[in-house]
């Protein structure tokens, strides 16, 4: 086992069954995904459209779901094989921030409650003064002053403040890894930048690694070191964020990047996209073809016959027969 890795996912697969007893359908939400993060703090973005399995991966990592197969390894130890103490430590060191800063609060409780609960649960402090100091420090780390938020109800705070409190709550636990699932997609542009800066700061100055889950390539490009592009539960391309955005290799990544609207009326899209007449929700269980082959403009014969493995091209991993 590689000691230099903080966190690793190996061949992670999650199958959901849906439908009635008669018409059971298997939905392959996560399909053989492998990823790793070094000990050195880094931000890894999981980018994909809705239904690509990115949130399922987050839920698997956090233990809300059990993987069908595959392993999640934290500090060299498989999560499923941890003893109680190790598991508590895992739950403490791997924290999460979710999309909806409006829904993650109990509207009847003051915001202090969300900060006090983990402190009590994990017995992080021994005295009241210590508790207060820890809360103040965590709030400072996310750019909030304790007197401006403590004692208030969630409705009295803006979405950006609430999301920062969620980051502060996670930071209380001195996490090594933070799973951020669309943390800014519900925030306004004016607040979004602030929250992203805090994520950046937590990584650079306080040594927290992030898995940043988003459908938005532009914000992912801003903050991440590495990026993995997901399509229908599988990774299509993985590598340095800069490289992927500047020189995308996989036809799906190319399409994604071309489709980001340019904020310039002089460079409007010229080319028309083919719009599928029908695209049904049924995700077939196991198919041999490349998942993107029915939408791909560069389709070859082999694409429908054999699933492409990950090819390594100058440090970028890409799952496409073009790079064989």
């Amino acid at each position: 086992m590689d000691a230099k890795l903080l966190f690793e996912i190996r061949h992670l697969t999650k199958v959901f069954s849906a439908g009635s007893i008669l018409g059971r359908k298997k939905i392959l939400a996560v399909d053989d995904v492998s990823l790793s993060m070094p000990v050195k703090p880094e931000i890894l973005s999981l980018v994909g459209e809705s239904g690509s399995g990115k949130t399922t991966i987050a839920r698997l990592i956090l233990g809300f779901l059990k993987p069908t197969s595959g392993e999640i390894i934290y500090k060299g130890k498989s999560v499923t094989r941890m003893n109680k103490k190790e598991r508590m430590n895992y739950l403490k060191e791997v924290q999460a921030v979710f999309q909806d800063p409006y829904g993650s609060f109990n509207p009847l409780r003051k915001v202090d409650y969300v900060l006090l609960t983990p402190i009590k649960k994990f017995k992080l402090t021994t005295s009241k003064e210590e508790t207060y100091e820890l809360i103040t420090k965590s709030l400072e780390a996310v750019g909030l002053r304790s007197e401006e938020v403590l004692g208030k109800y969630p409705k009295e705070l803006s979405g950006g403040q609430r999301q920062r409190i969620m980051l502060a709550r996670a930071f209380l636990m001195r996490p090594q890894l933070l799973i951020a699932d669309e943390p800014v997609s519900m925030l306004d542009a004016s607040l979004r930048a602030g929250v992203l800066k805090i994520i950046f700061n937590l990584k650079n100055n306080l040594g927290v690694s992030f898995i940043y889950i988003t459908h938005d390539l532009s914000t992912a490009h801003y903050i991440s070191d590495k990026m993995a592009i997901l399509y229908q539960g599988s990774i299509m391309e993985e590598g340095s964020a800069k490289r992927i955005v500047e020189e995308p290799m996989h036809p799906y990544t190319k399409l994604l990047i071309e489709s980001i609207p340019m904020p310039d009326p002089k460079s409007r899209w010229q080319e028309r996209l083919e719009i599928e007449k029908i695209e049904l929700l049924s995700k077939s269980g196991i198919s041999k073809s490349c998942k993107f082959s029915n939408r791909c403009s560069k389709k070859m014969d082999i694409c429908t016959q054999k699933r492409p493995p990950m090819f390594d091209v100058n440090g970028v991993k890409v799952s496409c027969w073009l790079y064989q």
Binding site: D188, S218, S259, P261
Partner: protein
Amino acid sequence: MYADLLEVNNLSAYYMVQPPIKAVDGVTLSLGENEILGIAGESGCGKSTFALALLRLLRPPGNINGGDIIFNGVSILKMPENDFRKIRWKHISYIPQSSMNALNPVMRIQEQFTEIINFHEGRKSKKELKIRIEEALAKVNLAPDILNMYPHELSGGMKQRVIIAMAMLLNPEIIIADEPTTALDVVMQRKILQLLLDAKQVYGSSMIIITHDMAVHAQISDKIAVMYAGKVVCIGETGMLFDKPLHPYAQILISAIPSIKKTGELPSIPGLPPDPRNPPSGCRFHPRCPSFIKNKCDVEEPSLIEVKKNMLVACHLYG
């Protein structure tokens, strides 16, 4: 610019709570024939309330407090609701925000189309209905197979296309689309924008597109009205507005667009959106404005004036 199809004069729409929220406060603008007008601004600036007011769909405590809306020379605010129901959808249709949830979940797609046609054009034969509906679906490139399906059987992008097909079903002069692509991934967004452009270019509709996403405006709007705290702060032709956004808020809005081509510091809009219950005095943008003039901007409200052709700005810098 163009011959005006829709004129909005000094329209105000408040939410009548204590104190009233002036969501739309004296908006004046116009929409020409075969034109796409974009409405931009941060959330809470009143753009969705404005759309609902245009369609007379505001529900209490929302209320239209003043002004007028003139469609084809006739005031649609003053006509009785029963008359307006004949205009809504047939002449002015609507693509609501989060329209993926706008379809009736227990009705097949076919029935939902039939309902619209029957209401506006009286009962039609099955055969005629089928032709009409299939034609409408073809415009958004959907196969007739989906007619017998329920909304949950369709993907998000397909539902969005069904809604667009419904909005285009009666060949309306105006389509009002509120955040038509916000919940979609970039590839589907591009396809939907392509369809909206078709509605304009091929079928001759005019449109009001409401979105906070300036890049979407850059791609499809002919002119853009920027709203701030219930007011229009500038209206201009898209190219000019992006080239030289005269209003300081428009400047910040355009420079804060995240772009995949830019790296380094993430741009942001300093300060917080104003409290709609208690908007700032004078120019509502003054607490966040980098060009704030003391004793002028915080006292006197600037009016929207034409500073050059096709460019109206409400700012004391250009008074």
